[in-house]
């Protein structure tokens, strides 16, 4: 048997494939949280991204790459617009971040706006006119082991790698990145430094929305190229959990996301190989593992709150300094 069809290689390749939307969403959430804004609306924003991106590929005509680029951008921008609600409420009006984020998911999520849009535009049950397909990068996809894993993925997978590098460089190597971290750790200090706390928080909440939308678009354009109500099935929540696993560091979101990609794909891969267990057992793996990993992460380092921005979840009011 060809080594590239061995279960290890298939699992590794599909872990990356299924983990990629989580990379986008959790890097986005990480940026927002680094600025001190907890956004529990990721699930809702992802679904908005998924539905608008899918609408776009059905209605825009043109060459494949252009339609997909536009659709992903539109999905991201639609989710960005959704995150603006949260930003106004928690940064501008200093509302409770937890309640506002939950409200955002109820508003936009599986029984809200995304479902409404999908329903009105009659998107259900249509096959996508365009979808992200695996590329043969540099003609290397046939290489043993690394070929299918690294050189036979779709364009968004490679974009997510660039994103992680950019996020790292931004947070640790640029002045605005330093300011974001300051705003998340100690908004008072940042304010004294002359950093506009509210502006940074707005910008990063919106960036989080944009990336959640791209992650959502990945679901409707790459994983299952069609539209189903609530198709992200909890990925937005797993992305929020991933930020904790990653100790708020972008490079570690890759590890977490691919781990969960592995759990998500395990069911399909094993079923294709005649392992018979109830489908619900496989389907519940990512959720159960999220809790398990969360427990492991939160025990050892709980005391130090390693990596968590100190001002996460708290509104900043200048007069109360």
């Amino acid at each position: 048997m060809n080594v590239n069809e061995s279960i290890v290689v298939v699992l590794a390749a599909s872990a990356i494939f299924y983990g990629t939307p989580l990379v986008f969403a959790s890097v986005g959430e990480l940026l927002a949280e680094r600025s001190g804004v907890l956004n529990l609306g990721v699930e809702g924003m992802m679904l908005i991204g998924a539905v608008t991106a899918f609408w776009s590929v059905q209605h825009i005509t043109g060459p494949d790459w252009m339609v997909l680029l536009l659709a992903t951008t539109i999905g991201g921008l639609a989710a960005l617009a959704t995150s603006l609600i949260h930003a106004i409420l928690v940064v501008g009006l200093r509302a409770n971040q937890i309640v506002s984020g939950l409200a955002l998911t109820i508003f936009a999520g599986a029984t809200g706006l995304s479902s409404y849009v999908g329903n009105v535009a009659r998107l259900g049950g249509q096959p996508a006119h365009h979808e992200f397909l695996a590329l043969n990068v540099l003609g290397l996809s046939g290489l043993p082991v690394v070929g299918p894993i690294l050189f036979h993925q779709n364009a968004l997978v490679y974009a997510s790698w660039v994103l992680v590098i950019l996020a790292l460089a931004y947070l640790y190597r640029t002045r605005p990145g330093l300011h974001v971290r300051a705003v998340g750790e100690s908004p008072e200090t940042a304010d004294v430094m002359g950093v506009n706390v509210a502006r940074y928080r707005y910008a990063h909440t919106l960036a989080g929305g944009l990336l959640a939308g791209v992650g959502g678009a990945y679901f409707s354009l790459a994983i299952t190229p069609n539209w189903i109500d609530g198709m992200t099935s909890g990925a937005g929540w797993i992305a929020i959990a991933l930020v904790i696993f990653a100790f708020w560091r972008p490079e570690l979101t890759l590890v977490g996301a691919y781990l969960f990609g592995l759990f998500s794909s395990l069911g399909f891969v094993l079923q294709a190989r005649q392992v018979h267990l109830p489908p619900e057992v496989f389907a519940s793996l990512p959720y159960v593992m999220t809790v398990v990993v969360l427990v492991v992460v939160s025990t050892g380092w709980a005391k130090q709150r390693l990596g968590a921005p100190a001002a996460l979840g708290t509104p900043y009011v200048r007069e109360e300094r």
Binding site: L89, N96, L102, G112, S115, S284
Partner: protein, 352 residues
């Protein structure tokens, strides 16, 4: 009111006349014959999941798992209903209530213990368990030969469904002339009073309030934080579990995975709790209002009233309630009871 104004814009964009739509909504929610009765049917689970969320949120314990705890309550209650099918009504129904209550509490105790002993973020863990509970429902009815599944006839084996409970397992109702009140709603009112009494006149209730206001103050006062967290989580899960039991006993009389999952009753409970500012007595009022809104939505949901709008409306009401809170805070700085947790009192617009 602002929420209604904003929703009008949505309706206008969707090509509907907002005023006529509101007239239809209120008519279908409260005034049309039998409308109040069906509004109470919709409000009953919201009352119980709303109380479940309000109880936990009051001490800033973010139990988002009402959804899954309600599923487990339905599993527990229908299991008890099947097991006790040859008993008399009162025993059967008490068994169902206890079954739902215990199953919901057991499901909630898991994240409660994780929160108390490992400091695991309860928002994520309760939410993840919602998905697991949903899959458990599907497994029990669609992918196994479980105790809950009806395997008695050929067609039931082909088209999976739960065992339909005996007639004696249907919960009684109270006819109050203006509306027929389901037993579950009565239980919810009793639970609201119980919760209020718990906060007001027990040591545990006092500890919950201290914890809600300041975790560090609670620690300095020697309150056993872990125990309070676990007990409160179990209590919250028990309330949601009764909501699930009521779904089985009052309305469905069968374990119906798809029906329960489409309803999203646990998540709506969060909306209800937030709008009620976690006040046990405000929860029934908000539950009836939101129930009426949802009920009108269902009855209007024809080809011209698409799915998803109920969630949009609920979300908007919450947004405006949250936004209005700031204005309230500014206006009533001196007069307000400043002891509520910071940012924990969304109300304003939605109260009108």
């Amino acid at each position: 009111m602002a929420a209604f104004a904003a929703a009008s814009v949505v309706l206008l964009v969707a090509g509907k006349d907002p005023i006529a739509t509101y007239e239809r909504i209120f008519d279908r929610a409260f005034f049309a014959p039998g409308a109040l009765t069906s509004t109470l049917v919709t409000a009953t689970p919201l009352l119980l999941t709303g109380l479940a969320a309000a109880a936990a949120f009051r001490m800033r314990l973010w139990n988002i798992g009402g959804e899954g705890q309600l599923y487990l309550g339905a599993v527990g209650a229908s299991g008890a209903g099947i097991a006790l099918h040859d008993q008399t009504g009162p025993i059967l129904i008490t068994g169902m209530i206890l079954g739902g209550l215990l199953a919901g509490a057991a499901w909630a105790i898991v994240p409660g213990l994780l929160k108390a002993y490992f400091n695991t973020n309860e928002i994520i863990s309760t939410l993840m368990l919602n998905y697991v509970a949903g899959l458990l429902l599907l497994y029990l009815i669609f992918d196994s030969q479980s105790y809950w599944r009806d395997l008695s006839t050929f067609s039931a084996r082909q088209f999976p469904q739960g065992k339909v409970l005996a007639d004696a397992a249907s919960w009684p109702t109270f006819n109050l002339e203006i509306a027929i009140v389901p037993l579950g709603f009565g239980l919810g009112i009793a639970a609201a009073i119980g919760l209020w009494a718990l906060y007001r006149s027990t040591v545990f209730g006092f500890q919950v309030r201290v914890l809600g206001d300041s975790a560090s103050a609670a620690r300095y006062a020697g309150i056993k934080t872990r125990r309070v967290v676990v007990v409160m989580m179990a209590l919250s899960g028990a309330l949601a579990g009764i909501g699930g039991a009521s779904q089985v006993g009052d309305f469905r009389h069968v374990l119906d995975p798809r029906g329960l999952q489409q309803a999203g009753l646990g998540y709506s409970g969060i909306v209800v709790a937030a709008l009620a500012r976690y006040n046990p007595f405000a929860v029934p009022v908000v539950a009836v209002l939101i129930g009426g809104l949802a009920n009108a939505g269902y009855s209007l949901q024809g080809p011209d009233f698409p799915a998803g709008l109920v969630g949009v409306l609920q979300g908007m009401i919450l947004f405006f309630a949250l936004g209005g809170e700031l204005l309230l805070r500014y206006r009533f700085t001196l007069g307000s009871r400043g002891s509520l947790p910071v940012g924990a009192q969304p109300a304003g617009a939605a109260r009108q």
